[in-house]
């Protein structure tokens, strides 16, 4: 499985492009807000941050399966069990999204100010979000890659599935922004972890069937 992970890592062509994508989106947001001559209020700051993350996540993960050539998939098939492939993809995507999110957050804070009062909770929440996005989107991109109009399908399938997660994430990060105690977001965080586990487990079980075609 570790080997598989390394395979993913070796063809990280998307990485630089994605970093630039996040960077330029943040910059565009900064420019549009500075027209008004000021920083956005905290709720808008929060909402904008998650929208940027959502779009870059969809774009980043979509590369995973869509760029895979048929021959290479067959090659993997002879080497490793499908479970290893999906776990490696999820792990790689989670790390990729985590990296993107942290770089994005740093840039975002740099240009749009930092209203976060409970930084540990906020960063932990971002990490959970990256993991959740990765496990949802990896299977969705696998499904979409099989269809004819994959790019549209990726968005159509992915967005509704991500909304429950996104609602919880935005709620917790709003709590972190307001500097609420950890107890206030505990139940939401637990639900997030549970949702991640469900989605991860279902992907793990279903991927072998997807793989065969």
């Amino acid at each position: 499985m570790l080997k598989d992970f390394r395979l993913e890592w070796r063809q990280r062509a998307a990485l630089n492009g994605m970093l630039l994508y996040v960077g330029s989106t943040v910059f565009v947001c900064f420019l549009s807000f500075s027209l008004k001559g000021g920083l956005p209020p905290a709720p808008a700051w929060n909402a904008l941050f998650w929208i940027i993350l959502l779009f870059s996540a969809v774009n980043a993960v979509a590369k995973g399966f869509l760029q895979e050539s048929r021959g290479r998939m067959l090659y993997y098939y002879t080497l490793v069990p499908p479970q290893a492939v999906i776990l490696a993809k999820i792990a790689y995507n989670a790390l990729l999204l985590l990296g993107l999110a942290l770089v994005g957050l740093a840039l975002y804070v740099l240009v749009l100010g930092n209203p976060v009062q409970n930084t540990a909770l906020f960063v932990g929440n971002v990490a959970l979000g990256a993991l959740g996005f990765a496990s949802t989107l990896t299977l969705v991109s696998g499904i979409a890659a099989k269809a004819a109009n994959s790019n549209t399908l990726m968005v159509v399938l992915g967005f509704p599935l991500m909304i429950p997660m996104l609602l919880l994430l935005i709620k917790v990060s709003k709590n972190a922004l307001d500097g609420l105690e950890f107890e206030a977001s505990q139940s939401s965080l637990l639900t997030l972890v549970a949702l991640n586990l469900i989605v991860g487990a279902v992907s793990y079980l279903l991927f072998p069937f997807l793989w065969r075609s």
């Binding site: 429950p164 992907s203 997807l210």
Partner: protein, 222 residues
């Protein structure tokens, strides 16, 4: 008498319609007579949940033993579930208009239901974007299971965590405690069973039609 459950569905739904409009209901402020919508709105969601469970069951069976029949069953069951969900949204919207004064509010339970419908709408889009039948069947079965696992928390877990106008949220009891007396139970439980049976009946008829269409199509090809 293997079709006893269809007869039962007819009897229960006739009973629901008659008793639902004629039996006495408790006089509650704001709700007034709209409380009778409970016999139509709430059973829709029960019926939808059961028929979607059946759809997932057929999808799992399809992945174990792929036959066109199982694919048709899971597809038609999912479509019936979507229909029930849409009717549930519509009846809920009418109810909201008369009690909360608006067709739609920004409420976790309502949004959750709408998003779950979007998830299943994506299922239909996914099905229509394949040309190869076997691939379509397998991949939509995979997505169906995945969609069920992410849509059900939207209905039953997330709304309970936040405050909501809708009963059954924010730690409220769903409907049993304060707005349902013994008279209403006499209609409500039969209504739930009746609408659920009707959902299964619809799915059965729809899958028979789909199976016949498939047969005709294959005959034309041959």
């Amino acid at each position: 008498m293997k079709n006893w459950w269809k007869g039962l569905a007819v009897v229960l739904l006739l009973y629901t319609a008659a008793a639902g409009f004629l039996m006495p209901v408790p006089r509650l402020a704001i709700l007034n007579e709209t409380i009778r919508n409970l016999y139509f709105h709430v059973p829709m969601w029960f019926g939808m949940t059961f028929i979607l469970i059946a759809s997932v069951y057929y999808s799992i069976r399809y992945l174990r033993t792929p036959t066109p029949q199982l694919d048709i069953l899971s597809h038609e069951a999912a479509k019936t579930g979507i229909l029930m969900g849409c009717v549930g949204l519509a009846t809920g919207s009418i109810w909201a208009k008369y009690t909360w004064g608006t067709w739609w509010t920004n409420d976790p339970k309502l949004n959750g239901a709408a998003i779950a419908m979007l998830i299943y709408g994506a299922y239909l889009v996914l099905r229509s974007s394949f040309t190869d039948e076997q691939q379509r069947a397998r991949i939509s079965a995979i997505y169906n299971i995945f969609a069920f696992a992410t849509a059900m928390p939207l209905f039953y877990i997330l709304p309970r965590l936040t405050d909501s106008l809708h009963p059954g949220a924010g730690g409220n009891p769903a409907f049993a405690k304060y707005d349902l007396d013994d008279n209403m139970r006499l209609v409500f439980y039969p209504a739930v069973i009746g609408w659920t049976l009707l959902a299964f009946w619809l799915a059965q008829v729809a899958s028979r039609i789909a199976a016949l269409k498939l047969k005709v199509y294959e005959k034309q090809l041959a």
